[in-house]
Subunit: 337 residues, 3 copies
């Protein structure tokens, strides 16, 4: 039987997606003990991590397993990601060997690799995570690639289910926010996809020039159509948040300016108004719309202290849910049946 | 019930302090098995560590638990520590989120954060560890902050108990030593406090300009008064060591020159005589006074090889005791009753 | 009883060497459960690692134990390795304390330390790993030193046994390959020693100026003599591979040019033909000679993609065997009897 990978939430299909969330809820209530005894998850981080790393490590330990952490380019060898490369440069080990070898020491392997920020036409193919999975003999979990952060998407979905009851038809606003750096689009795309998979009324608010990749938009539209939701675009954070059940605040870089951060910086200079404030909360449904963020968040830049430390914010519960969805995911992928 | 933190030894009170040391002795003798099954300790290191990291990781494992290690600014996100900061700079995640989120993945969390070496008037408030604890929902263990290294203090106290029998009234000399860099005062303050908590005759020898912070001195005096000991200041390592039962050799930076390392370097240039040598040992009680150091130690700079490798040195046993006091501490804070 | 270290395969003697390989084969077949319950292995990496680190961590966990990883100079203190040093420089902690202290937190300790690439006359003494072992109170495992990588040697031997049946008398070719950097000789020396310990017909092919250290050659000759094999030198990869049962492709730096990388770079410029290609495979015995490499490998520089991804390559199995020989090694050194 072919091993299963977890590279995106949309590939789970409606039943698979729902089943993982159901299992996560049971796991969170303490109804599932053990299941990963003797199992090893080897995760390779080419970029920094707090939540992903700590929550996966806790998840493995809580069910009897163990996580190994590697950092190519720091404690471990720098990684070549180009197939067919003549490796005369600085990269010491090819992802083919990293992937194959780690699979011999572990029951599942993971990779975090952010886009390099040079050419979106290349990055948008998300080749590194796909090649890593293709060469691996063991299930691969995407710990955030150029295009997807599916564990975050699962945690977002579980949080929406918990906080809104049945999220179907409820208003989910994904809103761009100003940030000093152009960040990847993997999280906003994954969050919008997950909300669409829940059948929500998805609104994406962003300034001109900050559209998500058209392929990501296509997935969002498909998932909305398949799950009874809909998708709207908006040009203003404050307009979009009116009546929102949930506002997902998140910054990302303009794909138009991808690879040209200085130009983008100038372009976005006028966009500092895209910030979540206490005033912004009032427009949400009965003033009680929840505020979500994947973290790390730039306080008083993306979201004000008063919002993050106030009752509308669910960002800590959302981060906690990373743990529970990943427990469910690991049990599903490599757990003892 | 409010969660308990462990930020300093003096906050334990006489009974709590004694109880931890008693438990540590039992743990060391192998009388306590398990107790941390399924428990997770997440430790965040903003500065380097060997003993703290390795001994806590062993401690958790030995009793059935697990330690997660994070390094903000290296494998994990760089950390903003200023409350209310507008996060437009290089720091990516605020300690509020780090503290709150880690508490969702773990049963206790820890933080190591050294002073930055710019303004003592700010550092002396020890705000970072206090804020980290204030925002955390779980017990926080101080892995060395600007003002305290309480796990070291506990290990020092256990070592004094083991090597001197009842340390009460015995002569404990904390002596400054020359070192190429201005080091933090957390260790010398914590060691002197611990010795005072044991009711010892505490002597602090230091060159002019190297007084500990007045608030630390006040705690040392208070603890001595409360525990039947006393405190004396001395101006010479060699004079102070006469008749010493224990000499704790340690370098620290001048608080007068805090934030001005080049000036301090010049100032301390004449102080190279502050070094522990074999000759220095002869003055100790019957030539058998023990030599302590928290490690890492600069060999042949703070202490000569012949001392470190000779019979008076207890530095390796002292380092080992980090393990046992921390086993006791963890069992006390988060152990299964 | 004196603790045992594992610094080289030759020190095991014929019976010890064979016994470890036999145990590794049993372990690999799943015939040995547990044995390291409650045991801790603390490994200190002064240089990068993927296989060593991940496979030892898996090995400990698989048998009930735990591995602690430290990185002097990164998360842990930079390490002074010179005995008698007056530590006024950048190194913060001496290997004496690192070794002694880690031994108090763990049942065995490990060290990886590559040669610095300045003076071979010093490096060839392999003092750092030897001093680390001499000062340690617990068994020390060499995770690759200037002269030896014995865990790799064991894995190579297990792989040869598995792939060739009884390797005795079969043709083992260690061939130099071009590489952009001058690499250490620990792996080629250890591989040739291991093959000699198996009684193979060892051929070492290298360009002029790339002889291994004469002491390493002496060990290879001794082991061949003691185990019924022989040793031949060759001047061409393609000639040497004729009729080979196994070709171990590996680059290493010229000891003549040790410490002068720019000169060596020029010297080796004409040696790019030393590369393993599909054509090279044809010359091996019946075209089925196995291709070995310790990894990481520079694809299309040392070995072509077509070779690495073809049926002759055993590099992934060889890497997997690191896990099994180390499981056996740990069980032997610190396992519960």
């Amino acid at each position: 039987m072919r091993k299963r990978d977890f590279l995106s939430t949309e590939e789970l299909g409606p039943e698979g997606f729902s089943a993982i969330l159901d299992l996560a809820a049971r796991v969170k209530r303490g109804e599932v003990k053990g299941g990963l005894e003797g199992k090893i998850f080897a995760a390779s981080f080419m970029d920094p991590s707090l939540r992903t790393r700590a929550s996966f490590e806790s998840a493995m330990f809580m069910h009897g397993g163990h996580m190994i952490v590697l950092e190519p380019g720091r404690g471990s060898w720098s990684m070549e990601t180009e197939l067919g490369a003549v490796m005369e440069g600085t990269a010491v080990e090819h992802l083919i060997e990293t992937s194959r070898v780690l699979g011999r020491y572990a029951d599942a392997i993971g990779l975090r690799v952010f886009p390099k920020g040079t050419e979106w036409v290349r990055e948008r193919q998300d080749r590194i995570i796909k090649d890593f999975a293709a060469y691996s003999e063991k299930p691969v979990i995407n710990l955030e690639s150029a295009r997807r952060h599916p564990c975050q998407g699962l945690a977002d979905a579980l949080t929406l289910r918990e906080k809104l009851g049945d999220p179907k038809g409820k208003r989910f606003v994904l809103s761009w926010a100003w940030h000093p750096k152009p960040l990847p689009t993997a999280v906003p795309a994954s969050a919008a996809i997950a909300a669409a998979q829940l059948g929500m009324d998805v609104v994406i608010a962003r300034p001109q020039g900050y559209d998500l990749d058209p392929d990501d938009m296509a997935v969002i539209y498909q998932q909305a159509a398949a799950n009874g939701g809909r998708v709207t675009l908006a040009n203003s954070m404050s307009d979009a948040t009116v009546g929102a059940d949930a506002v997902y605040v998140k910054s990302w870089g303009s794909l138009q300016y991808f690879g040209r951060p200085e130009e983008e910086k100038q372009y976005r200079a006028g966009l500092r108004g895209w910030k979540m404030t206490v005033d912004g909360l009032k427009a949400t449904k009965a003033g009680k719309g929840i505020v979500m963020h994947c973290l790390p968040v730039r306080r008083n830049v993306e979201i004000d202290d008063a919002v993050l430390d106030g009752p509308n914010s669910v960002v800590i519960d959302e981060a906690e849910n990373r743990l529970h969805v990943q427990r469910a995911l690991l049990l599903d992928l490599i757990g003892r049946k």
